[in-house]
């Protein structure tokens, strides 16, 4: 099927994009296009206008200065997954980006498009939560920082306002005693996560001091697994897999995603198994990055 008719506008700058958004009725933003165009081709989405922000240079690229990595919203998954420095500094994000879709999707799809779209079965929501990201949005009133914990609200619903544009993502660097990982059970057909679990373990002398653990695919938006995080505190890094059994404890399991791909009950089972795997992989990486 083919998209319905619309007017295409190419934004030259962030300001230009905001102007277009303000002026146009029923406009959608287009970055890599891998969320919007497939939906338009099914006929489910049929906007009057499309604002292409994919050519705004100021929103592209990865910058590792100080103790934070800043990733422009237009940066493709491939650029993120291929960034060696990011693999050391924020492993979970690089790993999640490399798990998205396929080579062609990763060459075109962007981090900003993904996080703004907020598909609960995509891979970046959990990774952004586990990486403690800050999302920077531009709106008519200027720039605003959103803590990732306040960002994901529901399926395709975020804290971003209609007139706002996500311009970059900021992630703090892992310290030397930190290990992080993202593992997923993809749908064999779509490649989206039936369950994806991202984990960052902050350790101190072989013990978990704190953790950020989050999941995609379980609920209608990316969620922190706070019961797992609590259980991990004080645990030896050798035993972290045991905390996987708490994966569902902090979630309302009656609200688990439930469709032909996987029932809620099976998702709960996968969530435990994949949380265990994510924690163990993250634990294996503690201290590794520091030596690279």
């Amino acid at each position: 099927m083919y998209p319905g008719e619309f007017d295409y506008h190419r934004a030259e700058s962030v300001e230009h994009a905001l102007e277009l958004l303000a002026d146009l009725d029923d406009a959608e933003l287009l970055s890599g296009g891998h969320s919007l165009l497939p939906t338009m081709k099914t006929g489910l989405a049929d906007p009057d206008a499309v604002v292409d922000i994919g050519h705004i240079d100021a929103m592209t690229g990865i910058d590792h200065s100080g103790d934070t990595t800043t990733i422009g919203a237009n940066t493709t998954y491939a650029e993120i997954a291929d960034d060696d420095t990011l693999w050391d500094s924020v492993t979970v994000l690089a790993e999640a980006a490399g798990e998205i879709g396929d080579v062609q999707v990763r060459n075109a799809g962007t981090i900003g498009g993904n996080i703004a779209h907020a598909d609960p079965a995509s891979d970046l929501p959990a990774a952004a939560l586990a990486a403690d990201a800050t999302l920077v949005a531009h709106g008519p009133d200027g720039e605003r920082e959103i803590d990732v914990d306040d960002y994901f609200i529901a399926m395709y619903m975020t804290d971003l306002a209609e007139d706002e544009l996500l311009t970059r993502v900021e992630v703090p660097h892992q310290g030397p005693e930190v290990g992080s990982a993202y593992v997923k059970k993809p749908s064999p057909s779509s490649g989206y996560a039936l369950i994806g679990v991202a984990a960052t373990l902050y350790t101190d002398g072989g013990t978990v001091a704190s953790a950020r653990v989050a999941a995609n695919g379980a609920m209608d938006h990316g969620v922190r697994l706070t019961a797992v995080e609590d259980a991990l505190e004080g645990m030896s890094v050798d035993d972290v897999g045991d905390a996987g059994e708490h994966a569902g404890d902090s979630l309302d399991t009656s609200m688990f995603m439930d469709d032909i791909q996987a029932s809620a009950e099976f998702r709960a089972q996968l969530l435990e198994a994949y949380t265990e795997r994510a924690l163990e992989r993250a634990a294996d990486r503690v201290g590794v990055a520091a030596t690279v």
Binding site: Y2, P3, E5, L37, M40, D52, D82, A108
Partner: protein, 166 residues
């Protein structure tokens, strides 16, 4: 209905054309410019038969607006052979029977070329992962994997190994 005058450099030839906002790159290439190598196999961005290179990177031309690609360099399967000589990937697909009906083959090869540009001597599992976005219903993939391996040998380390996916 909004129309746009765009320029695409396809296989080295600069081409000017007028497209609707909604014209997909694959239809601009096939219906407007006559590059029928990239095929349309689905509309869900899953099959990869339409894969071309845009500015050197493999993308699905059914999931990109033609107007989005304005000003880019596009390579289709028609641009793989040079001076009448097959590209190593083409030779390898023929040698290994890496195709049967051939419908997925142009996209499959374009993905493989992009992959081999960045990966020296990949393992079979790695090749299978790299071809995730290209569906083939005929070959069972085994001879495709063989072909990519063979092409890698033919290309003999021309690509620099990329880091990233440790």
């Amino acid at each position: 209905m909004a129309e746009h005058d765009i320029t695409l450099t396809v296989n080295g030839n600069e081409q000017e054309l007028t497209v609707e906002s909604r014209t997909l790159l694959v239809h601009a290439l096939r219906d407007e410019l006559g590059y029928t190598g990239p095929n349309v196999g689905c509309e869900s961005s899953m099959c990869g038969a339409c894969t071309v290179h845009v500015d050197g990177k493999a993308v699905k031309s059914c999931t990109m607006l033609a107007v989005q690609a304005d000003g880019t360099d596009v390579t289709t399967v028609e641009g793989l052979d040079q001076d009448g000589e097959f590209h190593p990937i083409q030779e390898a697909f023929q040698e290994e029977h890496g195709l049967q009906c051939g419908y997925c083959t142009p996209g499959m090869m374009m993905t493989a070329v992009d992959f081999l540009d960045d990966h020296d001597d990949p393992g079979r599992e790695e090749i299978r992962e790299a071809l995730e976005g290209n569906l083939c219903r005929c070959t069972g993939y085994q001879n495709i994997v063989n072909a990519v391996e063979t092409a890698s040998n033919k290309m003999g380390g021309s690509g620099a190994a990329a880091g990233g996916d440790d």
